[in-house]
């Protein structure tokens, strides 16, 4: 079946819905194509808050937020993006409130704010109350509120449609090919502008906070076409994943006063970040936890994790401000956090890297910032680059609404003066072939076994600490996994709700983004933010203060180009907290 819309958004999470609303406001006929049902997207799992210098609890300024974001990103953050972000996220939070988002309130009636990792006052002096929150379900409330607005404005949704291809001809984006889960039918979509907002790829790792569905689909689709991905070596491990499942426990727990402890009960973060301690940025906390375990100070019979201690907090604080994470600890571990500390270890959480874009979400094709007309990206799938080498907590939600809005505005404006392109009937051919081949081939490799092997490879060779040797082994294993992927087979040969087939397709995407990640990590011989190379432990601004662009050439060879970091008023300095 064929469809056409002025603007088509891929993904119905925070950035997708924000950009859809803004594109519609700009007068465009908008449709959202999502592989899930609306409100199922993983924005809903974000917990702690959305950082904005509202100054409701104490003095705060967007310049402080801008500085924290840049320092948190270990100076790989583009400073123009950070400035726009820190300013615009204030109005974005106010706008969410006007849309009806039920933020928690202060006695004054204003939006309540809490402390969060790496967010400070006066350029690093002490932690600041900046994260606007709705208990520990802020992401859930953002997703619900944005979807409510989509209902109000009657936007069109194609639910449970998996994008198989982005049609790019002559350097211009013309449409999409998608697979409808309910029928197995292949659809083509013509669009004047496409906004990619399909989220991250945490499922490449064994232990992750991410949904099963976060498999890097659109990153991989563009990467296969020879387009670049930016800064893929920078992948965030959130310190407090519920051990051993990896389910997220918000940093807001430490924002409310929670403390990380090792086997002797020591508050070990005092040694690593004497000023802000447990509220140091995530990359530093995750490394500290790994070091504690490595040096034999881990907890449990295998000494393989540490503890998040909330027992000194009033039970009422936990019940009111952290109800969901208390429930997770209770259900999945049988631990009552008001009485017992909670076992935690870092969990694969967030891609700082992704599809390179301009400040208006326009997708960039190369190292000279050539724009692909009609193609936009926003949110975790994109790299603008706001988060640099390490994202601060709460800045993902801010990113979604600030850069989702910009992409929506820009796409609608572009669509106004653009025409639809005619698509040849063969345009869906390669996708159709790929689906049919996967469905019908009787390969001996199982999708689940191969995916498990991939996740173990990424966990072992490309997680918190990295070395040349580990990464090279990871690259070798990936090569084998790619080879085995050619021989996968699915049991389900049906047309309708063939989720097994969909998982086989998704595994192919995971392999691509894993390759981009491992090779980028192997290539960058320094330590910066979330990319910690034990063989190159220092940050090397002379050689590496630049963004990686990783490309896959025809024949599969991986190669690199670079883009300068946009610097500004904050000179790169040593990063201590």
């Amino acid at each position: 079946m064929a469809h056409q819309h002025d603007v088509i958004v891929v993904g119905a999470g925070g950035s997708g819905l924000t950009s859809a609303l803004y594109a519609a406001k700009g007068g465009a006929d908008v449709a959202v194509v999502t592989k899930l049902y609306p409100t199922r997207s993983h924005t809903g799992a974000a917990q702690g808050g959305i950082g904005a210098a509202l100054g409701n609890v104490e003095e705060d300024h967007w310049e402080w937020h801008m500085f924290d974001t840049i320092k948190g990103g270990d100076y790989l953050t583009d400073q123009d993006a950070a400035e726009i972000f820190a300013k615009e996220v204030i109005e974005a939070v106010i706008e969410l409130e006007h849309m009806g988002l039920p933020f928690d309130r202060l006695p004054s009636g204003k939006i309540a704010q809490r402390r969060f990792g790496g967010h400070t006052k006066e350029y690093g002096k002490a932690a600041v109350h900046r994260a606007a929150h709705a208990a520990d379900r802020t992401g859930h409330m953002i997703l619900q509120t944005l979807y409510q607005q989509c209902v109000k404005h009657n936007l069109t949704f194609y639910n449970e449609f998996h994008v198989l291809d982005v049609i790019l001809e002559d350097g211009v984006a013309k449409g999409l090919v998608a697979y409808e889960l309910a029928t197995g039918e292949i659809h083509t979509f013509k669009a004047k502008a496409i906004i990619i907002a399909s989220g991250g790829y945490g499922r490449a790792w064994k232990v992750t906070s991410n949904a099963y569905t976060l498999t890097g689909d659109l990153q991989a689709i563009l990467y296969r076409k020879g387009l670049p991905l930016e800064d893929m070596e920078f992948y965030q491990f959130h310190p407090t994943g519920l051990f051993p499942l990896g389910i997220l426990l918000t940093e807001g727990a430490r924002g409310e006063g929670g403390i990380l402890r090792n086997d002797s009960g020591e508050r070990f973060m005092e040694r690593y970040a004497p000023t802000i301690k447990d509220l140091a940025p995530r990359d530093m906390v995750a490394r500290a936890m790994y070091l504690e375990v490595r040096e034999g100070r881990g907890v449990g019979p295998r000494k393989d994790h540490v503890l998040l201690d909330l027992t000194h907090l009033p039970p009422e604080t936990i019940h009111k401000k952290l109800p969901d994470i208390s429930e997770f600890a209770q259900i999945y571990l049988g631990v009552d956090p008001t009485k017992q500390p909670v076992p935690v270890m870092p969990t694969a959480h967030y891609a700082m890297g992704g599809i390179p874009t301009t400040l208006w979400g326009e997708v960039i094709a190369d190292d000279s910032n050539t724009i692909i007309p009609g193609l936009y990206a926003a949110g975790e799938v994109a790299c603008v680059s706001l988060h640099g080498a390490n994202r601060l907590g709460t800045n993902s939600l801010g990113d979604l609404v600030v850069f989702g809005r910009r992409a929506g505005i820009a796409a609608a404006k572009f669509a106004k003066s653009a025409e639809f392109y005619d698509l040849s009937p063969e345009v869906s051919g390669p996708s159709r072939e790929r689906v049919e081949r996967l469905r019908n081939q009787s390969g001996k490799e199982s999708v689940a076994s191969l995916r498990t092997a991939l996740q173990q490879t990424m966990q072992d060779y490309a997680s918190v600490f990295r070395t040349e040797e580990l990464l090279a082994r990871g690259a070798e294993e990936l090569k084998e996994l790619f080879e085995r992927y050619r021989y996968i087979g699915v049991q389900d040969k049906g047309e309708r709700y063939n989720t097994e087939l969909v998982e086989a397709i998704e595994l192919g995407y995971l392999l691509e983004v894993s390759e981009a990640t491992v090779h980028s990590a192997l290539n960058r011989r320094e330590s910066r933010g979330a990319h910690a190379r034990e063989d190159y432990p220092e940050r090397d601004d002379k050689n590496w203060l630049k963004h990686t662009l990783v490309f896959k050439q025809e024949g599969g060879k991986v190669c690199f180009r670079y883009k300068p970091v946009v610097l500004g008023k904050f000179e790169p300095k040593a990063r201590t907290y």
């Binding site: 199922r40 009806g100 309130r105 619900q144 259900i331 689940a448 709700y497």
Partner: protein, 232 residues
């Protein structure tokens, strides 16, 4: 331990009628039912269809009838269910395949209650003010993840699918009792109609089924009272 999983399977386009299929799965007490479904799908029978996404009770994809009660498969643990577990699709919505149901009627009911803030007054430059006490009144209703566990456990909904159902009423409650909202009367049209709140017979199934521990029946009663006493 070995767990016996009995799953109600059905493909409306196939020849077979709905039928039970039994699987033996090796599992740990702390495994989620979702883990068992994955083990079956990945290593025994790739044709089994079910929805899931976040895997920890936040996205609302995997509501199912498990041992006779609506639950999320990702929040139901083997240790609480025992070695013999039955899984069926949630009731009252058309089955598309196995545990996958058509969610469109559910979302139609959601839309009918105008589930968005209605307030045409020009907003202030900064946030609208709301006291913590006013915010608290509708707190529980904001937890709803639209999983449909409540609506599809309601005997009134089973008999008459035109009833908007508990989930839609919870969504309406979330706005009616929000001090910033001005749309109560608009919503009362849908809620006061013959397919609205008066269909509720306070069976409390919805409250028991809610995986977010929202006092659903109480919310419905509060909406009834608001309409009855013309509170807004």
């Amino acid at each position: 331990m070995q767990v016996t999983l009995k799953i109600l399977r059905y493909d409306p386009n196939g020849a077979a009628k709905p039928h039970w299929q039994t699987y033996q799965v090796e599992s740990e007490p702390m495994d989620r039912v979702l883990d068992l479904l994955h083990k079956i799908k990945y290593f025994q029978d790739g044709t089994l269809a079910f929805r899931r996404s976040c895997g920890h009770g936040i996205c609302g994809s995997d509501a199912m009838l498990i041992n006779g009660r609506n639950r999320l498969a990702c929040k139901a643990l083997v240790k609480d269910l025992g070695p013999s577990i039955t899984v069926e699709p949630i009731r009252g919505l058309p089955v598309k395949k196995d545990l996958v149901v058509d969610m469109d009627p559910f979302f139609d009911a959601y839309r009918a209650v105008k589930p968005y803030l209605i307030n045409d007054e020009p907003p202030p430059e900064r946030e609208r003010l709301q006291s913590p006490e006013d915010r608290e009144i509708f707190d529980a209703s904001t937890k709803c993840i639209l999983c449909a566990a409540c609506t599809t456990s309601c005997p009134v909904f089973w008999v008459n699918g035109t009833y908007v159902g508990p989930a839609a009423i919870v969504q309406a409650h979330r706005f009616i009792f929000d001090s910033r909202d001005r749309g109560a009367r608009e919503r009362f049209q849908a809620l006061g109609a013959s397919t609205g709140v008066w269909r509720c017979r306070t069976a409390y199934n919805c409250t028991e089924a809610c995986p977010r521990e929202i006092p659903v029946t109480q919310a419905i009663e509060e909406v009834k009272r608001a309409i009855l006493f013309d509170k807004f």
